[in-house]
């Protein structure tokens, strides 16, 4: 099929133009760390096959977000709406795993109650995805979960990298509008497919894990976990949050279920040991969320594997979860 053929110069010139018209977030390296940053703040956009440390999730669910501010006196309270950000934004060169994650999270954020902050950002953003025809790192396993990283149907536009240049195709009006800025010319594009990953995981683990909730294997699944928030924060699908009042504002903050404080109440701590918290993480992603919304809460991006300080490989975790020993009869764990 015909696609918009772009050279690297076309892309860089196009990005330059776009960033003067609107806010553009793209992967930019700073001191060796690649992350989505505002183009306006400087730095060269990475167009190569590299994975960001944090996912693009932070653009739609900010790590710290003001829900509203307030002026509270003794007998009066004034609630002040947060400053409205209506600036359209362009998310450039995120990967299919991150785009897929947004679609997966759309479900929880619209479950009965529509989260307006999330939806507004989704509506305002033009998302241009870079397809992955090869895994970016040896830790990528999107394909092992059945995700085809050569496509991104939910994105506004998709760009393919080849030795001869870039091929771009819009999926939506917003995408068309953005791609027009890049120029280039229409050309017949090759057929793009990903290399099939050798390993396919059994991801149909919902019932197996529920039935074996008390399995002693859970204690062996990730004993090295130190309960920090790294995997949760770099993950494109983790979305659990906390709400706190601080400095005259009510803020929504990223939270992590691997931490002891997540379910800690004064009277009771439902998850007193680390393996129970890790079980929650795995089961939320591979059992509870699919039961509720029909989708696994994971897109196999591998960032958790890349960033875990104790080198826990989530793929190994999944394999162990496929072989849960039955619980000993007569007792809980």
């Amino acid at each position: 099929m015909k696609m918009q053929k772009l050279s690297e110069d076309d892309i860089r010139a196009g990005l330059d133009k776009l960033s003067r018209e609107t806010v553009v977030y793209a992967p930019i390296e700073q001191e060796g760390r690649l992350d989505f940053r505002e183009m306006e703040k400087g730095g060269e956009v990475e167009l190569g096959a590299r994975k960001t440390i944090m996912s693009a999730k932070k653009l739609f669910l900010p790590q710290a977000e003001e829900l509203f501010s307030f002026r509270a006196g003794k007998h009066s309270v004034e609630i002040i709406d947060p400053p409205k950000d209506e600036e359209p934004l362009v998310l450039f060169a995120c990967r299919p795993c991150e785009m897929r994650a947004l679609e997966i999270m759309d479900k929880v954020f619209n479950w009965d109650y529509a989260d307006s902050q999330w939806n507004e950002r989704r509506a305002r953003a033009t998302i241009i995805v870079f397809a992955c025809l090869e895994p970016l790192t040896e830790t990528c396993f999107c394909n092992s979960l059945g995700i085809d990283s050569s496509r991104s149907d939910g994105a506004d536009a998709i760009i393919y990298t080849t030795a001869e240049g870039f091929f771009a195709r819009a999926h939506s009006e917003k995408g068309e509008k953005a791609l027009k800025v890049f120029g280039g010319k229409d050309e017949e594009a090759p057929e793009f497919t990903t290399r099939d990953f050798p390993e396919k995981f059994n991801t149909d683990l919902q019932e197996e894990m529920m039935e074996n909730f008390e399995s002693p294997t859970w204690k062996e699944v990730a004993p090295a976990c130190i309960g920090c928030g790294i995997c949760t924060f770099v993950c494109p699908t983790c979305h659990c949050f906390d709400i706190q009042d601080e400095g005259g504002r009510r803020v929504r903050l990223w939270d992590y279920c691997t931490g002891a404080d997540f379910t800690l109440m004064l009277a009771h701590q439902p998850r007193p040991t680390q393996y129970r918290r890790y079980r929650q993480k795995v089961m939320h992603k591979y059992s509870y969320y699919p039961t509720r919304f029909g989708e696994i809460l994971c897109t196999g991006c591998g960032r958790c594997i890349d960033q875990c300080p104790q080198n826990i490989d989530f793929r190994e975790v999944l394999k162990k979860c496929d072989q849960l020993a039955p619980a000993e009869t007569g007792g809980g764990g």
Partner: protein, 295 residues
């Protein structure tokens, strides 16, 4: 390696411990990962090499089982401090000591595109803390594996560069650190990986009053990190795990070494974890202690 495997096997077979905490191989850098071995036949997995970066003593507090843990020289200092703070009695675990001639800097390993650990650890790959190591062989080990490493000339001084760095203009430093801390994502990996951070309710989570606001906004991160420096004062053993764990490369050791340097200056050359008999400054008082800040 054989000796390590054999000793671990015996410990488990003879029920001297419930679990052996050591290192096993991993296909991903740094090519090892922590291992919790409970069955004698699994001891085959145990390794020790220049990629065995993890400070495993972190798993001892609250473990609830009798453990034997592979401990490197620097990490043993943490056990001393924990004993001095009455958090971990010496007889509640067994130390499997090793001779360590240096550990790899994982980030440099990945930058270099290595797909396995090098045979010899070059200066380009070695972790910064190892350049001034003075405790290659684990003191006070219950079992010592292999030969002791003969003394290696330190390549730099522990506090090298700190005086110059902190002599810079105050405003400049403040802005520099503000920018560094703006990268912090409050994952608390530095805290969770530290063997000396054992508070059941960390002050960062106490909410009455909320000493440290939890959001990453408004320079709150600066507060958190300054508070952590206070937690580490006189206690940090410079195992370097915090800096290794940090996903955004915050130079935490610069901060903790600086406070350690100051404590050493104030308190008669005190260095945490080197001498079980020397009480930490927070637990001790001497009539001759400097009091010039009072008047």
């Amino acid at each position: 390696m054989e000796q390590l495997i054999q000793e671990a096997k015996e410990l488990l077979e003879e029920n001297k411990v419930d679990v052996v905490i050591g290192y096993r191989s991993s296909p991903l850098p740094p090519f090892t990962q922590p291992a919790f071995i409970r069955r004698p036949e699994d001891c085959e997995q145990l390794v020790f090499n220049c990629g065995s970066v993890y400070n495993l003593t972190r798993y001892l507090i609250g473990l609830g089982e009798k453990a034997a843990v592979v401990v490197k020289g620097c990490e043993q200092r943490g056990l001393v401090v924990l004993e001095q703070e009455n958090m971990l009695p010496r007889d509640s675990y067994l130390v499997i000591g090793v001779g360590c001639s240096g550990q790899v800097d994982e980030k440099k390993l990945m930058e270099g595109g290595f797909d396995r650990l090098p045979e010899q650890l070059s200066d380009e790959l070695i972790a910064d803390k190892c350049l001034y190591c003075d405790q290659h062989n684990t003191p006070d080990a219950d079992i010592f594996i292999g030969d002791e490493v003969k003394s290696i000339e330190p390549q730099k001084e522990r506090y090298a560069g700190l005086d110059e760095f902190f002599a810079q203009d105050y405003e400049k430093l403040y802005h520099q650190w503000t920018e560094v801390f703006s990268r912090c994502i409050r994952c608390y990996a530095c805290r969770n990986i530290c063997p000396l951070c054992y508070c059941e309710q960390c002050i960062s989570y106490v909410n009455m009053p909320q000493w440290l606001p939890r959001s990453v906004a408004d320079n709150n991160n600066y507060l958190f990190h300054m508070r952590r420096v206070l937690c580490m004062a006189g206690r940090c053993i410079d195992c370097g795990e915090c800096e290794r764990a940090c996903p955004v490369d915050i130079p935490l050791r610069t901060l903790y070494k600086r406070i350690a340097q100051k404590i050493e200056g104030f308190f008669y050359g005190y260095r945490a974890g080197y001498n079980r008999e020397q009480l930490p400054p927070l637990q001790d008082f001497n009539k001759d202690d400097s009091a010039d800040f009072i008047l």
